[in-house]
Amino acid sequence: MNSIILLAGTRLLVALLLVFSVFMLLRGHNTPGGGFIGGLIGATGFVVYAIACGTEQARQALRVPPENVAMVGLGIGLFAGVMAAFFGDAFFVGQWLFIGATETEKGLPLSSVLVFDIGVYLVVLGSILTLTFALEEGAD
């Protein structure tokens, strides 16, 4: 598809969508968002890019095959669950670390739950792109 408007818009849109997807992923624990939504937004970004510039370009922009992204995400999700075992808890019990916590401030929270959400993000992103790219390449 060779549309100048689409091409010009895509440059802005894709960057915005990708940044927004990460934003949605990170804020998800307290406000609407999360890995699933973030992954969908991220996938939309690449899909838009693929429509504007072709699947080949989109694949290059992603750098790794989307099916690998999905599998790595699944592995990260599993790892987040197994992490609990290192601290003597049952599978998938959330592990929390508050960096710089004081009496009054709880500091920067890091957790296995966030790791799991990142896994979800990658699985959703990778799976949708696997499907879309394969479909679009089939259509050529």
């Binding site: 624990h29 999360g34 999905a70 995400g73 699944l74 599978f91 739950v113 799991f116 990778g126 089939g138």
Partner: protein
């Protein structure tokens, strides 16, 4: 097999694969041997680790007389069989794989007999099923090997499922899965209302595993495996797993009339039937396979009773049989290896070329035939004593044992006397030669042990048999003494009758065999029945696949939704009657707007003939649904719905280029039916929703998550907290499904292109 020893070792693993397994098994054997003094002192050793504490599942191991006897047989015979295999299969391209499988089997079997927790036991039980499948099917290039392996897997696997159900029932009744705790509760299982189902399920598992009639037919077929496998799995270990479990459950399930009669009849029929079949065979290995069945039947028969004599007979015969049967299987393997045939009529006069094998075979066979001074004789005497002491029908049991023992004597002669000593010129120059020491060690040591225990029965009685009897019947019961000369009594008379009868059977073996083969042709064959069952199952599967999966996407959807409708409407009908009283909710302006969008989108989709317009219509429906979520305060769901809707439109748009026109053939005959289904589902779902909102909403879960979301999971977005923390395991399952679905679609799309 004969040529293999000349071929050089293959692969980097061939050498360690030959060396490590025997050493490992021997080391384990020594380890268990070190426990003998404690066990002989009637102590019980126990180890426990928590596995899934939230489900009350622990990995617990228990060593008592019964499990130690099995553990010693498994590791002892294992080390000899592994040593034997290192020569028997030397140079085989998959030698290392074979050794890996058989070691895995040994460890699973050890776990099975040592487990104290029923679920741990079950896991190891299934592992033996799987590893034995791999071993039976080791020669997977032949159709026979594959069929036999699959048959064993399906039969023992089905039995395993029944067993699992039985174990779960036991756990429910007793409140624990620990065997030692269940036992401490006394007759809790026998008095329970679920006793009969438990018994049937457990026996279904043990009878398939230990090949009791009429589920016996997989065992002779399993002889498709390499001979070391037959020697190990199908004589000394795996098939005895069922016997082990029956012995283990004896204190908990035994002692009732049902137990007594089911085990007596199944055991007796198996023993007699198998020993007759053993006489009929002309293949040495098949013959031994049926004598193994006979042994399993005898063990079951004696496990029916709960008197000291009978259980002593079980423990003694268990050891006796493992010793001579493993030795004889190994001998048959040597004959096969050396001459290339196992056919009884083609063999004879091998003693000159293979003197050591001949002597080992002879000694093992004398034990099998039950002649003094071998342990087999004592085993037989104690069997007769046990038979006369049982509570069911001593005459019946004694007769069954007598017939099978006499036939056993005849088979012992056929298998290990005639190939070596019968005067016969071999049909062709087979060039028989003596086996290497690795292959001779097994038969020699096992046969020698048979003689040693015969002369010093105290050795066996004190270390294994008496603690074993105590483990089954409790410490109060006095086990019968093992003696070579127990005085002139009824068992001795029966022994003499056995010798006479057995000699007659041996002398007239050819005539008997011809007669039996003639008889066999007129009787139904179980093996064919198995094929019929499998064929029937496949035909059923093919029929129902044709019915519901015709290959037309529209048909799939129709069936899926029709099923859904029947389930929903049926439930409403059953719960609320044909006309449930409903209250129509009060709708506001914004609700009507959404409804208008959704209905308009749906109508567009239905009426248009352009695919793009249909997709746009569907998109409108989806956005309407997202609006509903926003109105009712679920922003996460709304965002997701919108994004999914967007992506679906894109995917559809890409796919639409490749799809045919809507209704390419112009027929619309299916449409009225589809419309009726769609409208019915719409009404059904609406009714369900109205009924749900009508009743009081159970807010317990909502309240729980609202209260705990922040303090326990440090999150304010309850939806997200549930997804990634409270219900993370479910989410993990879902993302796994997403990833697999994407990969499958990817494979389909790429595969079609290629």
């Amino acid at each position: 097999m004969a040529g293999h020893s000349e071929v050089a070792d293959k692969g980097p693993w061939a050498r360690p694969a030959g060396l490590l397994p025997p050493v490992l098994a021997a080391a384990l054997f020594v380890l268990f041997l070190g426990m003998v003094p404690e066990i002989a002192d009637e102590q019980v050793l126990r180890w426990a680790w928590d596995w899934v504490p939230s489900l009350g599942i622990a990995i617990t191991f228990l060593v008592d007389g019964l499990s130690l006897t099995f553990a010693l047989l498994i590791t002892g015979i294992g080390s000899l069989v592994f040593l034997y295999s290192s020569k028997y299969l030397q140079g085989h391209p998959h030698f290392a794989r074979f050794m890996l499988f058989i070691v895995m089997f040994m460890l699973s079997m050890l776990g099975l007999v040592l487990a104290d927790n029923l679920l741990t036991l079950f896991v190891f039980w299934e592992l033996t099923t799987i590893t034995s499948y791999l071993l039976i099917g080791f020669d997977h290039s032949t159709a026979k090997g594959r069929r036999s392996a699959l048959q064993a897997l399906l039969l023992t696997g089905t039995g395993g499922l029944a067993l699992l159900a039985g174990f779960i029932l036991i756990g429910n009744v007793a409140g624990t899965f620990e065997l030692s705790e269940i036992r401490a509760q006394g007759g809790v299982l026998i008095e329970s209302a679920l006793y009969l189902p438990i018994l049937i399920l457990v026996l279904a598992g043990t009878f398939t595993k230990s090949a009791q009639f009429p589920l016996h037919f997989w065992l002779p077929n399993a002889m498709a495996a390499p001979t070391p496998v037959s020697a190990y799995l199908h004589s000394a270990t795996m098939v005895k797993a069922g016997v082990y479990l029956m012995a283990r459950m004896h204190p908990n399930l035994g002692g009732t009339d049902v137990w007594l009669w089911v085990l007596t009849i199944a055991g007796a029929v198996t023993a007699v039937f198998a020993s007759i079949m053993a006489l009929k065979q002309t293949d040495l290995k098949q013959s031994l396979a049926y004598t193994t069945l006979m042994a399993l039947g005898t063990l079951t028969l004696f496990l029916a009773a709960d008197v000291g004599y009978a259980i002593t007979a079980v423990m003694t015969f268990l050891v006796v049989h493992s010793l001579y049967k493993a030795a004889l299987f190994l001998v048959v393997g040597i004959i096969d290896h050396s001459t290339g045939t196992r056919h009884v009529n083609e063999l004879g006069g091998l003693a000159r070329a293979m003197p050591i094998t001949a002597v080992a075979a002879g000694v093992a066979a004398l034990s099998m035939a039950g002649l003094p001074p071998f342990i087999g004789f004592i085993g037989k005497e104690i069997k007769y004593a046990g038979a006369l002491a049982v509570g069911s029908e001593p005459a019946f049991v004694a007769a069954a044992v007598l017939v099978s023992n006499a036939l056993m004597l005849a088979v012992a002669g056929i298998v290990s006397f005639s190939p070596f000593w019968r005067r016969k010129h071999l049909a062709e120059p087979l060039n028989p030669h003596e086996a290497p020491w690795q292959m001779l060690a097994g038969p020699i040591i096992l046969a020698a042990l048979g003689a040693l225990f015969g002369i010093y029965p105290e050795l066996l009685a004190r270390s294994l048999v008496n603690p074993g009897v105590a483990a089954i019947l409790g410490p109060d019961v006095t086990p019968a003494a093992l003696k070579l000369w127990a005085g002139f009594n009824l068992p001795l008379v029966l022994s003499l009758v056995t010798f006479a009868l057995g000699w007659l059977f041996y002398y007239y073996r050819r005539g008997l065999r011809t007669w039996l083969i003639g008889l066999g042709e007129r009787l139904p064959v179980f093996d064919n029945g198995w094929d019929n069952v499998l064929d029937g199952l496949k035909a059923l599967a093919a029929w129902q696949t044709r019915l519901v999966q015709g290959g037309l996407l529209r048909r799939y959807l129709f069936i899926t939704f029709a099923t859904f409708l029947v389930a929903v409407a049926g439930t409403i009908w059953l719960k609320a009657g044909p006309m449930p009283a409903l209250e129509w909710p009060v709708l506001q302006v914004q609700h009507w707007v959404v409804i208008a969008i959704v209905v308009a989108g749906a109508l567009l989709t239905l009426t248009t003939s352009s695919r793009i317009a249909a997709i746009a219509g569907l998109g409108a429906v989806g956005i309407g649904v997202a609006l509903i979520f926003i109105i009712f305060g679920a922003p996460d769901v709304a965002i997701t719905q919108l994004l999914v809707e967007t992506l679906v439109v894109v995917l559809f748009a890409v796919a639409a280029l490749k799809l045919p026109q809507l209704d390419p053939d112009g027929t619309k005959r299916h449409r009225p039916l589809d419309a009726a289904l769609a409208v019915s589902i719409g009404i059904g779902v609406t009714v369900v929703m109205l009924m749900v909102t009508d009743g009081p909403i159970d807010r317990r879960l909502t309240d729980y998550f609202e209260v705990t979301s922040w303090p326990e999971a440090f999150g304010r977005n309850i939806v997200n907290v549930i997804l990634v923390d409270f219900r993370a395991l479910d989410t993990f399952g879902e993302i796994a499904v997403v990833a697999i679905a994407a990969l499958s679609a990817f494979a389909l799309l790429k595969g079609r292109k290629a």
